[in-house]
């Protein structure tokens, strides 16, 4: 019984440590492609908003359908007003919608937001930070 409890604790510890080291990346990825096998290397896109443009960059991009691209590793959304970072983002080129289910970090003037994911819709007008979210104003 004692050994079983220790084993259980070690198992929980390993799980959370692994999760922490991977910084919230899902253990099972939808597409697991190494950098050199990417459909697009260092992809760049932009969303033209009403007031300013949002530029999207990543290390890798892989087509998951004709319109949807999975952007992976160091994905950044940059505009004059803010910067948004995540590791896995699905970008719909046709509808200009970006979706992430991964830990995301938003930075703008005196403001930082950390969430469990996000959606960007309506040409960048609406940003929906998903799940448990923390916003800090300086």
């Amino acid at each position: 019984m004692f050994i079983f409890i220790i084993f259980l604790i070690i198992l929980i510890f390993i799980f959370f440590t692994f999760n922490f080291i991977n910084n919230g990346k899902p253990i099972l990825k939808v597409v697991d492609i190494t950098a050199n096998k990417s459909d697009i290397v260092r992809p760049k896109f932009s969303i033209s908003g009403k007031k300013s443009q949002i530029f999207i960059t990543a290390k890798n991009g892989n087509f998951i359908s004709e319109e949807k691209i999975l952007l992976e590793n160091n994905v950044k959304f940059k505009s004059k007003e803010f910067q948004l970072e995540s590791d896995n983002v699905i970008f719909d080129r046709k509808n200009l919608i970006a979706t992430s289910e991964n830990k995301s970090k938003f930075l703008s003037k005196n403001t930082s937001i950390i969430s469990a994911g996000f959606d960007i819709t309506e040409n960048g007008n609406i940003i929906n930070f998903k799940g448990q979210t923390i916003l800090i104003f300086k």
Partner: protein
């Protein structure tokens, strides 16, 4: 056993550091369970589910909060809460609870709505089933609705409509004008008296509470009724008058003593 303790402690630390960033001095922290929806063109954002706003000066919690901003996200002009809402403005001595709370940062106005809602302004306690509005900049307050009640150390007032103004002296807020109205009779209680009428006004310049229409003053076993009455809060004296159509009536209750 020490190893087990170490493993448990490490697990907690790893778990905690994965999810939590903490607020520094002078910073405002907002946490939600179901995210934040930012509408950049419309200049507002929705904070969803179990929302908590914490700063050095105040704490707000509610189910949903809509925050209107001016230029940047931090530049909040108006907060509108929905669901069980709590406010604790430590710096200003204001606490409140209601179904909805509106906080207008620019005009310094707070509105609390809902059944059993309250707003405490230092020693002045305001309760209602309707709405309570306090404007810190204009130094005014207004209670509208059933079971509206205002209490401080000297007065306990019940009426459907209670409004007035306050002033601040050495950091203490004191009521200096009052207007109370209730078609079904308002009630003002002091340590010695109970007063009833349809309308009452108070001015701290005269220290007099004036009562209008269907006036009744109860002091111990004595009940006086009439059309107009006043109570001098300094001299602790009162008078009741009547118009031409009716007379002042005095009733003295009998006791068994």
């Amino acid at each position: 056993m020490n190893i087990i303790k170490l493993i448990i402690l490490s697990s907690i630390v790893v778990l905690y550091s994965n999810f939590v960033i903490s607020r520094g001095i002078g910073e405002t922290e907002i946490t939600t369970d179901d995210g934040i929806e930012v509408f950049q063109n419309e200049k507002y954002y929705l904070l969803k589910k179990n929302v908590k706003i914490t700063s050095d000066d105040f704490e707000i919690s509610a189910d949903i909060i809509k925050a209107n901003f001016d230029t940047d996200l931090y530049d909040i002009t108006l907060l509108e809460t929905e669901g069980t809402s709590n406010l604790n403005a430590i710096k200003y001595g204001i606490t409140g609870k209601g179904d909805e709370i509106d906080i207008n940062i620019k005009s310094e106005e707070i509105i609390v709505r809902g059944k059993n809602s309250y707003l405490n302004l230092q020693k002045t306690r305001m309760n209602t089933d309707g709405s309570i509005k306090v404007n810190n900049s204009l130094q005014t307050f207004e209670l509208i609705g059933d079971n509206s009640n205002l209490q401080n150390d000297d007065l306990n007032i019940y009426g459907e409509y209670i409004s007035g103004s306050f002033s601040e002296l050495n950091g203490e807020k004191q009521i200096n004008k009052l207007n109370v109205e209730d078609d079904n009779l308002l009630n003002i209680n002091t340590a010695q008296l109970q007063m009833y009428s349809q309308k009452a006004i108070y001015d701290d310049q005269t220290n007099i509470i004036e009562l209008f229409s269907k006036v009744k003053i109860v002091k111990g076993q004595e009940i006086i009724t009439g059309d107009y009455g006043y109570f001098d809060t300094v001299k602790n004296s009162y008078k009741v008058k009547s118009d031409n159509t009716s007379k002042v009536k005095v009733t003295i209750k009998k006791t068994n003593e």
